[in-house]
């Protein structure tokens, strides 16, 4: 599939955004004490901004942005519609949480809103994943690991950005251990998951063949002799993207180092330097966050670039 940078960039950013919001929701709900009001507001603002950016961008690259509102109508059948609704809905708890923090009002309301926020972010990221995971036409996406993958990367990105934001506000901040531990754990988990995913898609039997696509398998092996058009068209541009194997391999390795190895390493260092030297810890977190974000970006790019659409079976390989 054609890796459209805009889409990729913003699924990554909004993913991290929702991760941040999710963690904020959880900590406000169960461990409110661990955060200063300013930290909470900054994190909320930043997370909301990241999520919003993702949302608006995905609207902007539509053919008819002004009609975007129509996308809320088909929640019965469409994951894209559901994503839209969930994404928009998550701004309700964001607003309530924000208000509560600002006016420092009722503890109970804040808790409920925070829980709701956490829940909705999980749902939104889940919907995004399902948009891809439910497409039978793109076997590499139609895979059980895609949904957990999106969640994990949101968590990884979220955990790191969360720390980063909190530490920027208050470098001497004594953050809750469970939270600091999240990043390295998420790094390990996503590495394992992604590794498994790649092995699976590489070895998966073809979902369809040029023989089944044309029905001519009945007679024998089928090859495309002539395409319907000598130049490119929408289909070949959108779904005919081919990434050379060797590039793919290199990029996969790079991604693993960026979102796996480095965050694990730096995250762990940060974890135990935490009380000792906050500044070094901050630097580690900066490094880990940058690496992970870049890594998720590469991973997301590969997610598109490596995915093959079955329609290209009709075209068959061709050297330009």
């Amino acid at each position: 599939m054609h890796p459209a940078l805009s889409v990729i960039f913003f699924t990554v950013v909004s993913g991290c955004g929702y991760g941040v919001l999710c963690l904020l929701g959880i900590s406000l709900a169960f461990d409110a004490a661990s955060l200063s009001r300013t930290q909470a507001l900054v994190v909320l603002g930043a997370g909301a901004a990241m999520a919003a950016a993702g949302l608006t961008s995905s609207t902007l690259h539509l053919g008819q942005p002004l009609r975007a509102w129509r996308a809320f109508s088909q929640w019965r059948s469409s994951w894209l519609s559901r994503e839209g609704i969930a994404a928009l809905a998550s701004f309700v708890p964001i607003a309530v949480v924000g208000a509560c923090l600002w006016f420092g009002c009722a503890d109970a309301t804040l808790r409920i809103a925070a829980m709701l926020l956490a829940a909705l972010t999980v749902v939104t990221v889940g919907c995004t994943a399902q948009i891809y995971a439910t497409l039978k036409t793109i076997p590499a996406w139609h895979d059980a690991r895609v949904l957990p993958g999106y969640w994990l990367f949101a968590l990884l990105g979220g955990a790191l950005w969360w720390q980063l934001l909190c530490r920027i506000v208050d470098p001497a901040w004594a953050s809750p251990r469970w939270l600091l531990a999240l990043a390295p754990l998420a790094a390990i988990a996503s590495t394992l998951l992604k590794h498994g995913y790649w092995r699976a898609v590489d070895t998966a039997p073809a979902a369809a063949t040029i023989e089944s696509a044309t029905g001519l398998g009945l007679f024998g092996a089928v090859h495309s002799a002539e395409r319907p058009h000598t130049e490119a068209n929408y289909l070949t541009n959108e779904m005919g993207y081919v990434l050379a194997r060797k590039h793919a391999a290199r990029l996969r390795a790079l991604a693993l180092i960026l979102f796996g190895a480095l965050p694990l390493l730096l995250g762990t260092i940060a974890l135990w330097l935490d009380d000792g030297s906050p500044v070094t810890a901050l630097l580690c977190v900066v490094g880990a966050t940058a690496a992970a974000t870049a890594g998720i970006f590469v991973e997301r790019w590969l997610f598109f670039a490596e995915a093959k659409h079955v329609v290209m079976l009709f075209y068959g390989p061709q050297r330009d």
């Binding site: 599939m1 539509l62 053919g63 008819q64 942005p65 009609r67 975007a68 129509r70 996308a71 809320f72 109508s73 088909q74 019965r76 059948s77 469409s78 994951w79 894209l80 519609s81 839209g84 948009i131 439910t134 497409l135 039978k136 036409t137 793109i138 979902a207 369809a208 040029i210 089944s212 696509a213 044309t214 029905g215 001519l216 009945l218 007679f219 024998g220 092996a221 089928v222 090859h223 495309s224 002799a225 002539e226 395409r227 319907p228 058009h229 130049e231 490119a232 068209n233 929408y234 289909l235 541009n237 959108e238 779904m239 659409h309 079955v310 329609v311 009709f314 075209y315």
Partner: protein, 247 residues
Amino acid sequence: MTSLPAPAMKKLGLVIDLDICVGCHACAVACKEWNEDGQFGPLPDENAYAKDPLGVWFNRVHTYDVEAAHAAPLTVHFPRSCLHCETPDCVTVCPTGASYKRAEDGIVLVDEDKCIGCKLCSWACPYGAREYSAKRGVMQKCTLCVDRIYNESFEEIDRQPACVMACPTRARHFGDLGDADSAVSRLVAARGGYDLMPEMGYKPVNKYLPPRPRRDACGASEAPPAAEAADFSGAPLLRWLDKLLSR
């Protein structure tokens, strides 16, 4: 709306005969022409007279070579357009309701006034039947000529898809595949019409008729056919000397 309608009795679609399709592209161009200036048009063209000419088409014609296991190799021409599937995800994934399947006849359409151009439906179509152009920002596809087949401003014989009427080998047939004894259904039964990519589970309505068995080494064998008892060892000229003919 994009939830699929309850399975209808009527399933309008095309039956395409790969045995006689010569790959002339007449169907593709007739389609382009019919729709260009019609209510589903325009089908925008970009760089029409320059590098990378690119435009929206609802019908494309491929050519395949088939290495038959035990028979002579085949070359097969293969038109590809919307199959008006019974359970297509191109409809269910649509967030706006623009992409829908008509309950009354199963035709799958895009309501351009609702389409936001998210392209998701085209990703969901295994058959490449949907084409998008940034020029209009909406998704476009074969309409099964819904604006022809019921058209009361037309004479009866013209109430057929443009591609079907144009096809110079009459390889394209239009009709109700839901009705077991419609002409098209009988054709499908008789010729073993099949579905494309059945493993996708979209249950295409359009059917393709496979090339008929080729009669390559058919009929007479290498030996002279029929009653050929005569001995031809001798010079034939002699035989003809005393041939009695009349004019």
